[in-house]
Structure formats: structure tokens, C-alpha cells
């Protein structure tokens, strides 16, 4: 190991250990971080958005702008891969592991698994209000099912299920859905992403509930489209 590396490692170790005395002990329920804003979230989230999962309310309502930025990060990563690896390869010049002979056992198993994975993914998206999960996890599961198809079922069949050219536009549309839902309340005179100002005849907590579901769908579309497009760019792009 070279000297500068060792110096950085030692410096980090010393600094991190120097911070220890000011931190709350492990599992301390009275830690300062647990009061203040966190206490407010835990006590009001269900009342505010009619949604039991506090983390979902937090990322999709209280701090939804972070999530919008995060969706932009994913979308930007897709764009970045495209910028670096375009033009994508011509047909027939895909790497060997993507078009070797299809293995019958793998194919049968994957064909049984795929619908299950996709149904589970939709469950994760729509049930994110009540249980762990939401747009990111569901979108990533949908993308994973497509990737599984890409690897096992061969190029032509997996392209028929989800063409490569669809990936990035789907990402853009997902992001637009998210921002568009934010704009509805904004156009009605509220703040950006203020769901309870959306012009529907529902109580505020139900409006937020529906707003959260809408942006989860947008996130899922963006994540699914972008992850598939990143995979396609990495596997066949840039030759």
C-alpha cells in the first residue's frame, strides 16, 4: 500500500473515532435525531396522508422534492450511458452471452417466473402505502424481469416484450408524470407538489394518498425504463 493511501485511511479513522463521543449510544430512544422532525412525521403521517407507511409518506409527500431529484438522477444516468455509448450496435453484433443457444431448463423456469415477478412488482408499487415497497422497488423489479428475459430468452423474443428504443422515452415520461402531478397543485394556486390543492372533491388526506400513488407510478415507469436502457447500452452500446 502506498503512503498517501495509508495516510488517508489513518486520517479517516482518527476523524471518525473522534466523532464517536458526541453520538448517541446504539439504540438510544432519546437520541436528539429521534425527536424534532422525526417525531412529527411519526405522529402525523397517518393523519396527513391516510397512509400507514411513514417512510412512503415521507419520501412521496413531506420530502417529495428529494424523490423528484432522485428520479432525475436515475434519468440522468440513463442519458449519461447513452451519451457515452451511442451509437448502439447494429443487429447481429451483440455479445456472445446474449445470443448463445437458449437453455431449455433455464427458459422454462424463467417463463414460469416472469409473470410472478411482474405481478409481485405491481403489488409492490400499489401496496407501497401499507407495506415496504413503492415506486423504486417495484420499478426495479419490473426492470429486473425484463433483464432476466434479455439474458435467458434471447434477443428477438425479449425485444418483442420490451424494445430497446422504448427505454429512455419511458424514463422521460415517468419523470414527466411525477412532475406533472406536482404541477396540478401548483397550477391551482398551491406550492409545487402540493397534492391537497389538486382540484378534486376529496378530503386533503385522500388527495395526498392519491397524489402519492400517482408519483409512485411515475417513479416506477422512470426507474424501469431507465434501468433497461442502461442495461441495453452497457450490453450492446458503443461498438
Amino acid at each position: 500500500m502506498r503512503v498517501p493511501t495509508l495516510a488517508v485511511l489513518l486520517a479517516t479513522l482518527v476523524v471518525m473515532l473522534a466523532a464517536a463521543p458526541g453520538l448517541a449510544p446504539f439504540g438510544d430512544p432519546t437520541a436528539p435525531a429521534s425527536g424534532h422532525v422525526a417525531g412529527h412525521y411519526l405522529e402525523h403521517a397517518y393523519h396527513d396522508a391516510h397512509t400507514p407507511n411513514v417512510v412512503t409518506v415521507m419520501i412521496a409527500d413531506y420530502r417529495s422534492f428529494d424523490t423528484l431529484g432522485e428520479t432525475m438522477v436515475v434519468f440522468a444516468a440513463g442519458l449519461a450511458c447513452a451519451l457515452m455509448l451511442l451509437p448502439r450496435g447494429r443487429r447481429g453484433r451483440v455479445p456472445r452471452f446474449l445470443h448463445r443457444k437458449v437453455n431449455l431448463i433455464a427458459e422454462v423456469i424463467v417463463r414460469i417466473m416472469l409473470p410472478a415477478v411482474q405481478i409481485f412488482a405491481f403489488y409492490v408499487i400499489f401496496h407501497g402505502h401499507y407495506s415496504p415497497g413503492g415506486g423504486f422497488q417495484g420499478g426495479a423489479l419490473l426492470a429486473a424481469s425484463i433483464l432476466l428475459g434479455r439474458i435467458v430468452l434471447g434477443r428477438s423474443r425479449s425485444q418483442a416484450a420490451f424494445p430497446t428504443a422504448l427505454g429512455r422515452p419511458l424514463g422521460a415520461i415517468g419523470f414527466a408524470v411525477f412532475a406533472g402531478i406536482g404541477l396540478v397543485g401548483f397550477a391551482a394556486g398551491g406550492a409545487f407538489l402540493q397534492y391537497d390543492r389538486m382540484p378534486f372533491a376529496l378530503p386533503p388526506d385522500m388527495l395526498r394518498n392519491w397524489g402519492i400513488l400517482g408519483i409512485e407510478l411515475g417513479v416506477a415507469m422512470a426507474v424501469m425504463g431507465t434501468l433497461v436502457s442502461i442495461f441495453d447500452d452497457l450490453s450492446v452500446g458503443g461498438r
Binding site: P21, G22, V37, Y62, L79, A80, L83, A179, F186
Partner: protein, 493 residues
Amino acid sequence: MAESALPILILLCFMGGAVAVVLATLRRPAAAWPITMVAIAAAFGFSLRLLATVLDGGAVRHRLGGWAAPIGIELVVDGLGAFVICVVTGIALLVGCYARWAVRREIPERESTFFAMVLVLLLGLSGIVLTGDLFNLYVFFEISSLAAYALIAVGDKRAVVASFRYLVLGTLGASFYLLGIGFLYTLTGTLNMADAATLLPELAANPTLRVSVAMIVTGVGLKMAIFPMQGWLADAYTHASTTTTAIVAPIMTKVSAYTLIRVLGFVYGFDLASGRLPIGTALAWLSAAGIVVGSVMALAQTDVKRMLAYSSVAQVSYIGLGIGLAQPWALVGAVLHVLNHATMKCCLFLVTGTVQLATGGRTLDDYAGLGRRMPWTFGAFTLAALAMIGIPPTGGFFSKWYLTVGALEAGAGGLVVVLVGSGLLTAGYMFRLLERVWARPAPEMVMRPVGAAAIAPIVVLGIAVVVFGVINTWFVTRVIMPSLPGGMGGGVG
């Protein structure tokens, strides 16, 4: 504090622009540039409007989702923020005008993705400036960095290696920043900047607080290329494509510098940040070292773009020095230098790009006699170069003047020596170049034509360098002083 929709409108311009570019270019690839320009122009208009609003009525905010501050995220803009956002969008508008010509020549097949990526970069940088939430700032930090990695990778053959190095170090910096706000959060339970600022003074004796300051300064300093973390910058700027360098170099490090001012000045407060751990002094002296190293390295280069990249290290360190001194005049100089350095560095990099695209030349000797072949371009170049050295009445003189006054008032004689000495070094490498440009005979060679749309932004920037120098007192008294942290502006008198 007044409510205003302007901050979010600026961000929506860039978000909408990026999505529109991706969707519109599926059918019409030529639509990328016009959409980009409309988005940037609208954002610039909103920024000017925002500056006017803030100067009239004080800071404004926008509560996202309608949630009040520590519960939700809010965008907060004061005089400094409005000033920096105007610099960012203004520079972007000028580079955008230039970009159509350059991108068509350098990377025609990737035009649409490139412009979408530029909008994402601008979204990230504007978000950093506008947000009032520490974690939201991290998200925008990553958006801008991600876009910058991709844009830098589009360049010559070695650009990808430079970009990868930048990615590793940049992610390390962002991670340190995240760790810093993690400590801050465990101490205070909040992520809102204003809320944290009210909670922190009680915790002054806490060792974790000092570690969190150190982590944040290290993380942001890495993005800002403060010595000894400047290694990534020169390669990244040298090998990236013309448009990338012209847009990344002037504004990206400046936005990081502004982040540092905000976190140190407004969240921790300079007194608290420097208590028992001399963060400010360390930053000032490291910046001084960066100024020397950057200037000396610039003197050693023969590749003009690389020379300017090293000079960026030195110039950004001027800003770091002003922040480190935490003295009112020095801060005025630092903020003013954000504007001046952005203007002149943008002008210089646009000229090197134009020369590279028109003649293929990169080294000092390739510039021999070009002054007569491209009089307008090199007229502006000369003004910007004089501003780099710090010759009155250009803007560069005044920002360095305020910095020197600040260093004298703070009693740091050694730093004054560094500031003056670095001016001499800058004069050394700039006059070496200007002598070749103007005093050598014009070369006999065929040059590709340069469009008027490419020359116009360069000339505008060259004039702006002088204008900003002449009207600098307006910036100082109207914009910067009223919004210095902790009522420091009153102390300047």
C-alpha cells in the same frame, strides 16, 4: 420572508427542457438546440426577475408541497443566491448560443443527448444554489456531478480516463458531504439549513459537530478542487470537448464555492465552524498553496487549454481564500470573484475551443499570429487575459483588490504576498501567450470559417469583463454586502 414561485420556476425550466429534448428528438433530432435555448433563456429571465425581487423585498422562499420548513423542503433565495443563479444561467445562455456551432463540429451524432445532459447539469447547479435543505443539496450535488461526468467523457481519447478519475474522487467528495450532514442530523434532528442554524449554537462544545464541519469542508473542497485535492481538475478540463469545458469550468467550481459560503457562513456560522478547530485558517492557507501550485503549474504548460485549467485551480483558490479568511472584505472579494472568474474563464475557454475547431491548434506556438487572423475573438481574449492578471479597470482587478484588503485587515501578511506574487505569475503565463498572439506574423494556413453566432458570445463576454469592473461598486453595495452572513455587511461600512 416572502413567498415566491420564481425559484421553482427556474428549476422547472430545466426539468421540462431536459424531458422535452429527450422526447422531441425521437422524431426531430434538430429540435434539441432550440428547446435547450428556450429553456435556458426562460430560466435566465426568471433569474433576473428573482434578483430584482430579492433586491427590493429581501429573501424569498418556496415551500414545496406546502409543508412548513423543517417538516418539508423549502427553496430559499437571498441576495447572494439570486446573484449566483444569475451568473449560472447567464453563462449558460452565452455558452448555449456558442454550442450549436461547436457541437455540430465536434460530436454531431450525439447532439440531442448532449443538450439534454447540459440541461440536467444546469438543473443540478441551480438546485444547489436555490435549495434550503442540506440533503436536498446533496441530491442536486449528485445530479450535477453525474451530468458533469458524462459531459467530460465526451472529448478526446483520454477524456474517459479523466472522467473516471473525476467520478471516483467526486463521489468520494459527495460521500464525505453526506457523512457530514449525517453527523449534523444526528446532533440536531433536522436537515433544514435555517432550522439547523438556530439549533447548532447550543452544541458548540460537541466534538461531533467539529467532525461534521471538517467532513463537509473536505467534501465540498474536493468538488471545488482546493489543494491538495485539485488533481482531477486539469485532466478533466483539458480532455473534455470545447462546449463541456466552457460550461463546466466557469460555473461548477463556483457553485461549490457558494455552497461552502452557505454552509460555513449561514448554517454553522464562521465563529462556530472555526471554534477549537481552525477550519477557516486551514482553508485559507490550503487555498494559498493552491494558488501557488496552480500558477506555477500553469507556467509550466505548453498546451493552452491545460494552462487555463491549472489557472482555474489558482483562481478558484482565490475564492477559497476569501471564504477561509471569513472577513467581510475578503468575502466580498470572494463573491465578486465568482462573477468575474466565471466571465473571464468562460471567454478564455470559448476562444481556445474556437481556435481548436478552426485551426486544430492547441499549443502556445499554434497561437502565433492568430490575433490578426481573428481580431474580434482575440480582442475579447486579451481583455479576459488582462482581467486574469488583475489589471484595472477589469473586473479581475477589483475582486483581487477586495481580497487583498480583506487579508490585510485580517492581519495575514503572508497571504498578501501570495496574492501579489500569484498576480505576477499569472502575468508571466498570460503575456507569454499574448506576445505570441499579437507580435508574431500571421501564419499562412487555411482556417475553417467561424460563424458569427460563435464569435458573438465571446465578444459579449470580453465586454462584460470590463463592464463588471466598472460597475463593481453597484454589485458590492447593492447585492453582496446586504446579504453577507451574520450581519457582517454592516461591519464593512
